[in-house]
Amino acid sequence: MSETYAVELRNVVKQFGEVVAVNNVSLRIGEGEFFSMLGPSGCGKTTTLRMIAGLEMPTSGSVMIYGEEQGYLPPYQRPVNTVFQNYALFPHMTVAQNVAFGLEMKKVPKDEIRRRVAEALELVQLTGKEKRRPKQLSGGQKQRVALARALVNRPKVLLLDEPLGALDLKLRKAMQSELKALQERVGITFVYVTHDQEEALVMSDRIAVMNEGNVLQVGTPEEIYETPTSRFVADFIGKTNFLNGEVVEIGDGLAKVVLENGAVVEASVPEGKTFVRGERATVSIRPERVYITPANELPDVRNAKAFSHLPAKLVKFFYVGSERRYVVLVGDTEVVVQAQNVDRSTRRCHTGDEVVLHWDSAQARLLKE
């Protein structure tokens, strides 16, 4: 017997006519996990969520919830509930009636409905708003009603489709931590769809990055950010610099790459990816992982095993308060360097200077072009 997952997708494909929205996706989501599906619009993340909910049926493949094959089960027979993107509250019902809807459909006794609705509204801090209509509520309050309406049913899995998308930035930030705290309190598996990478990083236990119907990488926020395995993931999550070149030597986890301007740098090879000598590849290095010094000067090497050095020309400098941002040219390629502004020592690199970039080779990633 294999281990039971809260949600398991096996080779799920969804086609709309000729268009492949979801292309052979397999995912395993553990019990109690806060799992995010992250990707640009049209990447298939919402379609995948809807297939778990039963609002779309897969063209092929299987969807399992707690080990049970869902097949063509309609949404009203699945042990999951959804928080929809624009809340989808019933406008002709009060807050309490909205929240009670699922329990009524399940024919829960009246007393219990009343008690559980009150509990759910308390959980989302909406006690006292029972008699309001959805249109009398603010965006944040509607959001909470939508949450309460789903959570009151104690679903095995809660599906959330960009639930914070319609809120303004400040409220969104507040709701992020609230939602995460709520999930930890109720202990229900959350499957969360978002296109906001920061939101996904902050809230999730694990993230699946999707693009064009494929899952590109699954991992913890740290894994996704620190060790992206593809150019798309490196680019979509956070900021990064790409340097194109050709692999000239492959060693113990590190590869030497000769860049287009002839300089040789090192980068780590992602696990499970193989490169051959002479292959065109891209080195990805995050702006905050690069040190910049005037030409012919070395930074503290600290305890790095290997350091890469790359001559460049400083073309722009920005003082951003908490950090100093340098834009340099390596050949024709722009590279951004961010340095934390930790002391007030005067800046030693000036626009037009010849400079050297340095990085711990283990921090750079070798990716397929």
């Binding site: 909910a53 039963g54 609002l55 309609p74 949404p75 009203y76 027979q77 999951v80 509930n81 959804t82 929809f84 624009n86 989808a88 509250l89 019933f90 406008p91 002709h92 809807f101 699922g102 459909m105 399940k106 249109k135 309406r149 789903a150 049913n153």
Partner: protein, 299 residues
């Protein structure tokens, strides 16, 4: 040009512009007023002469409510009013069910022949009444349905209403109900139905708990429209009723053939009042519905 002459010329020009503007506004208001007079003057005159104390409908001879009393005592008029109400109520109820189902089918489902169905559904609105009336007449005649009366006891009044009239009214009312309900349905976010299904409601309960309450303003609007159209239909009723059956408009028509008296004005005024009440009800329902119910702005 001296400075004085310049300023004089300028002030003359601005005075002219001001006059022009005033004249324009005046003419514009007059134009609007004429439009309203054209539309409503005949109705006002009709109502005024229903109180005329003379057989003439052209010369005022003092105030009386005699014609209203006369109307109330005219059995044929009262019977035709009951007939009208019966036909309107029954045909409205039947077309509400069929029309709403048709709207749901057209808006929510894809099926073979949908495009043709769409065209057919609009047809009764577009084609002339007379064409539809003749079509129905031939249909009832050829099909053998004929003009058999439905003997009904309607609030204690014994009526004999041909099935053909009711079927005829249903035939055109379905289209109007379907159009109004469809407009409402198109505005309704389908995600609400998905939310209901996600909350364990099967399709049947999704319809009754979510779709139907959301559609209700549209359905009520469709009902009022169908009822009004049915109440004042003449052509289709006239052609499908066979012999000896009168609705109020048909009765008025046969009275006119014998000469126009203020009694006809009285009947017409009453029908007008009735329509106004219906419009008022529809406006109140429209206000009571939620903010995005533009289906009610149709009338």
């Amino acid at each position: 040009m001296s400075e004085q002459a310049l300023s004089r010329a300028l002030s003359r020009r601005s005075r002219m512009a001001h006059l022009k503007k005033q004249l324009g506004e005046g003419l514009f208001h007059l134009y609007g007023l004429t439009g309203y007079l054209f539309l409503y003057l005949p109705i006002i005159i009709l109502v005024i002469f229903s109180f005329n104390d003379s057989r003439s409908t052209a010369q005022w001879a003092g105030f009386t409510t005699h014609w209203y009393a006369d109307m109330m005592n005219d059995h044929q008029i009262i019977l035709s009013l009951w007939n009208s109400l019966f036909v309107a109520i029954v045909s409205t109820l039947v077309s509400l069910v069929i029309g709403t189902l048709a709207a749901l089918a057209m808006e929510r489902y894809r099926f073979w022949g949908k495009l043709m169905m769409d065209a057919v559904l609009y047809l009764p609105i577009i084609i002339p009444d007379i064409a539809m009336a003749i079509m129905l007449l031939i249909f009832f005649d050829v099909s053998g349905i004929g003009f058999q009366p439905w003997k009904a006891n309607f609030f204690g009044v014994h009526l004999a209403v041909p099935y053909s009239v009711i079927i005829g009214h249903v035939a055109f009312n379905i289209s109007f109900v379907a159009v109004v309900v469809r407009a409402r349905l198109a505005q309704m976010d389908q995600v609400l139905e998905e939310a209901a299904q996600d909350l364990y409601a099967d399709p049947w309960r999704t319809f009754w708990r979510v779709t139907f309450p959301m559609l209700l303003p549209g359905i009520m609007g469709g009902a009022l429209l169908a009822f009004t159209l049915s109440m004042d239909d003449f052509v289709i009723t006239f052609f499908t009723s066979g012999a000896g059956f009168n609705t109020l408009p048909v009765r008025v028509f046969s009275m006119i053939k014998k000469g126009v008296t203020p009694k006809i004005n009285a009947v017409s005024s009453l029908m007008l009042l009735f329509s106004l009440v219906l419009v008022a009800i529809s406006l109140i329902i429209g206000k009571g519905g939620d903010e995005n119910s533009s289906a009610n702005t149709m009338f």
